[in-house]
Amino acid sequence: MRELTYGQGIKEGMRIKMLENPDVFIFGEDVGLFGGCFGVTSGLVEEFGEKRVRDTPISEGAIIGAAVGAAAVGLRPIPELMFVDFATVGMDQLVNQAAKMRYMFGGKLKLPMVVRLPSGGGVAAAAQHSQSLEAWFTHVPGLKVVYPSNPQDAIGLMLTAIDDDNPVIYLENKTLYAMPGQVEDEVKPIPFGKANIKKEGNDVTIITYGKQVYDALKAAEILEKDGIDVEVVDLRSLYPLDKEAIFESVKKTHKVVIVSEEAKRGSYAGEVAAIIADECFYECDAPIKRVCALNTPIPFSGVLEEYVLPNAADVVQAVKSLF
């Protein structure tokens, strides 16, 4: 075992594949000498050169669109946008082009590309640099969506994402970049659609991913003292979704809280709740709860941002409401 940060894990995943396959390359805003907005690609241009680690103009439509074109002619590009919020500028290329080309063309084209999108709040970056937009992407048929919560998963999911022949949205939580964690010396690819049970428990299931895994674990610790035994499910892959793991846990605990950092209205958390209500309703003996951000843009001032974003105490409160 060795220690890496979450950001280093993401880099390690890309590095392994770049060493293995010359068709894998990175491009985006300031990914070269600057090392990426959050330093994730630091050192890669020195190692692989400017051909494979390319700075682009600030031109999100061109970044995503060029990835689509490059993938269509046989490469495996990894475009990076500085913030998930900027995906709006390249959204046509993602939603109408990348996600639909294979289907529209009768399955005769493949588009292997991994779009890296730093997400989430908590860094006083205000409304246009703090969003959690996973529901936008999971809503679109043709995209796969993953969201690692720790360094080891960051590597394993990246290895799988780069080898996948479909467009993959790889969401990263920007407050986790510096977080260290133990990783195996040789990390294996983590298959998509396999959730990770972070903590086993019998009384209530918390379904979450990304940064909120830590809020859930903290809440579990607090609830333990009250005699509530929490199970924490880290989805890791939002689509494909590991429904089996969810249902298995619900069948055991019969109570569910879903935690995400998205605005609650129209959230991916809502989709997970709907799936459980639809396919596993009779196993639930309490309402399915969601703990999300409030339905506001993310405010700047620390006191306001902290209030808007969900935390462990909110999770504790939601769990307690079920007992």
């Binding site: 390359f25 051909k51 682009t56 103009p57 031109s59 439509g61 061109a62 995503i64 669109g65 060029a66 990835a67 689509v68 074109g69 490059a70 993938a71 269509a72 002619v73 046989g74 490469l75 590009p77 046509d92 290329q93 109408n96 082009q97 080309m101 294979r102 289907y103 529209m104 063309f105 009768g106 399955g107 005769k108 084209l109 493949k110 048929p141 043709g142 796969k144 022949d165 479909n166 494909p240």
Partner: protein
């Protein structure tokens, strides 16, 4: 003009093929046999034909919502195209794409596209892929006058020129963005002027002169193959039909269509061919008959083909996931 007689005949054949295919599609739509949105290329044949005559089979193109001409010019098969218009399983896209999304990766056709301006960035990406792999292929990007007002035009040309990518940007200026004339959608008359902003060559040619288009594109392709970057070529032309079939074209000034019909690219090419003894009239008639038969064969193929099995609706979303169907 340095074009071989063989090339000239091939270009003539392509233009006639496009015209006849489109006329047949027009009638099939009027008869209700083909549905959806059909955007016909009649009147603009010289652009796709002249441009694709400069390309190799391993070169790429990106197309538009008005894509039939590009597909035929790049070597698309009329049978699979017609079957796709009918929504049949033998169509290019197995009935999932229709008129606006025909693609053939084996011929470098990266797809017709329903989003105006989407091709600028995709073509740039194909150019990036070519440069990355170090081959001497090129990508031709077809787009209309109105798409040059989309942000993608600027983004694509900016990136392609900055990285000197092998892309030929071919603007089909047919004078209208749907119903809005060029004078009402932009403050310039020659779109080639915009090349100045990217420090790349920009020229305007008569888009109804197949040989003029050919020569301009050939020069641009040669530059691109040598790593000298992209070119913007504006081809001034006109669409005879409405934006889509069913468009009553109330926005056209009286007499405008008639004026443009006098510049029909096909009789112009015929005149040149006969005057230069490249073909005789009987040879030309025979070629026309052959193409008529090909179009009918395509219609027969489409009619005889099956509709796709409904289970295929949930396939091809991903390479490895079949989505859930419904029980009916």
């Amino acid at each position: 003009m340095k074009i071989s007689n063989e090339n000239i005949i091939e270009m003539y054949e392509k233009m006639v093929k496009i015209r006849k295919f489109e006329n047949r599609a027009m009638n099939l739509f009027a008869e209700g046999q083909v549905g959806g949105f059909v955007h016909l290329y009649i009147g603009e044949e010289a652009v796709a034909t002249g441009a694709c005559a400069s390309l190799r089979e391993d070169d790429y193109i990106t197309s538009t919502h008005r894509g039939h001409g590009h597909i035929i010019a790049k070597g698309g098969d009329l049978k699979y195209m017609m079957a796709e218009l009918f929504g049949k399983e033998t169509g290019y896209c197995k009935g999932k794409g229709g008129s606006m999304h025909i693609a053939d990766a084996t011929k470098g056709i990266l797809g017709a596209n329903g989003i105006v301006g989407a091709g600028h960035n995709i073509a740039t990406g194909a150019g990036l892929g070519i440069q990355y792999k170090g081959t001497d292929q090129v990508c031709a990007c077809f787009f209309g006058d109105a798409s040059t007002n989309q942000s993608t035009f600027h983004e694509g040309l900016n990136l392609a020129s900055t990285w000197k990518l092998p892309v030929i940007f071919i603007c089909e200026n047919n004078g209208y963005g749907i119903s809005v004339s060029q004078a009402r959608h932009q403050n310039i008359t020659d779109i080639s002027q915009r090349a100045v902003s990217y420090n790349i060559p920009g020229i305007t040619v008569d888009g109804n002169d197949v040989f003029a288009v050919f020569e301009a594109v050939q020069e641009a392709v040669a530059r691109a193959r040598k790593g000298q970057g992209p070119t913007l070529i504006e081809c001034k032309t006109y669409r005879w039909r409405g934006h889509f079939e069913g468009d009553p074209t109330v926005y056209r000034p009286e007499g405008e269509l008639e004026q443009w019909k006098k510049k029909d690219p096909i009789p112009r090419a015929e005149k040149y061919i006969l005057e230069h003894n490249i073909m005789t009239q009987p040879e030309m008639d025979k070629l026309n008959e052959k193409i008529d038969a090909m179009v009918e064969e395509a219609v027969d193929f489409a009619l005889a083909s099956k509709f796709p099995d409904i289970s295929s609706a949930v396939e091809d979303v991903y390479t490895d996931i079949v989505e859930e169907g419904r029980s009916r």
